[in-house]
Symmetry: D2
Subunit: 145 residues, 4 copies
């Protein structure tokens, strides 16, 4: 599988997400696309009240939402908004308690086929090297016109 230049730039992807999925910013803009590359995307999720559990720990669901968004972003950036992928499955391993700071999610596509895309996501606390959460996911890609 050859790695081609993505169909969308960071700015185009960011603008598309804002326009088509404004709900991800419900309660405050906390998701940011930092970089896109061939079969790759890096996102940042701010340390924000709406993502917290008591005691100030970022919640599991906040991390799961970030991982899903990061994989979706990598697919979208690569093929462009010609056919919108749908999540079919996701697996998460929660490895360490996150720090009280932003999370960085790096998603990488392991396979991008005509009908399915599979990728993995590594989530870390900003500035830290140990993994907080690891995920893999499969997305169904409808027929592209």
């Amino acid at each position: 599988m050859t790695s081609h230049k993505p169909a969308m730039s960071r700015e185009e992807l960011s603008a598309f997400l804002d326009r088509e999925f404004p709900q991800i910013h419900f309660g405050g803009r906390t998701y940011h696309v930092e970089e896109v590359g061939p079969l790759f995307a890096r996102l940042r999720m701010d340390y924000h009240e709406r993502h917290l559990r008591p005691g100030g720990t970022l919640s599991g669901p906040a991390m799961m939402g970030l991982a899903d968004l990061a994989l979706y972003a990598a697919i979208l950036a690569q093929i462009g908004p010609v056919a919108l992928a749908v999540t079919t499955s996701l697996t998460f391993n929660f490895l360490r308690k996150p720090e009280p700071r932003a999370l960085i999610a790096e998603s990488r596509l392991l396979k991008l086929g005509k009908r399915l895309a599979v990728g993995e996501v590594a989530i870390r606390s900003e500035g830290h090297t140990d993994l907080v959460c690891h995920a893999t996911g499969t997305y169904s890609i409808p027929e592209r016109r």
Copy 2:
């Protein structure tokens, strides 16, 4: 593995979640514990703006948060709040697009050991029989005092 009567009633569990995890109601009270039983819990998640994607579809992350809460609730109800379980892994299969209505999550523990609990969750649109989402999860149970 014998199925014992849970350590907490529906009301006790609901009050505990409200007290210890008020963040789940951030933006509006949408999660409700409908029933608890031996190794079992049933929760309802309202069809609420904060859980939606454009077009009015309940989002994947909303369903993932519901599944995690339902499994956590089943464990907590069974053993009581003597040791709070921590999610170690979750796997989701998104099967069908949900209806524009509440979701019902039924969680069932497949194993409740001294150190780990494993359960599955079936999520359906209220009043419908087909599964919208199926999940399995593993939770780590700290040493119980």
Copy 3:
């Protein structure tokens, strides 16, 4: 999703597997199709030397092979051998040590679409009610002629 009568009987499915996948019997015939029904199959795997770990415990890989076969059988029985499904993903939870006896695997399809099938499998030791292993899997279904 309506449950239709499967396209293949138990005997037809069993004969098809023997003919097209003789390798599953490499080292001894240990897999048996016991029953098929709408979106359902039940298989038995004998307690055989080739499936054991030291000490006589049935191995994880033996159980994983059984689960994959049970899901594949349920799909094949339902739609017939018009398009052969390919495993795209599998998740296993190993819950209890199996008994030194046969394993019974019951697979149930949660969704049977045009392009993907998703199912779950419950594996128990013959004669016992507690789950030994639980699995979910997704299979890709090629274009049907």
Copy 4:
């Protein structure tokens, strides 16, 4: 998490597996430990008749067995045979059809705690760069004496 030198060398690990798990070689010696490193192991599985499906394709169960062995090997090499890990869960994504040649599995531990170890495995056809199969797994580590 600091990466320490493994407790076992490649030769020690290989000898231990041969001695304690002779069943993995049932039907022919096809698994080989090629390298161990901090939180890492690389294994090779030969292209052998017993691992094949009709048409000569390496089977899913053969790949699943290889992945489980590779993760187990990485854990064992790192902590030594003081407490033998038990597989609690595994998730597989089958990405591409393998080539008719040996498979190389590289396992990497994402977390090695006191009670649980989590790792991922990348499986490729020998000499090829594209992933054939990707897996993640969680292992329970009994109390170490």
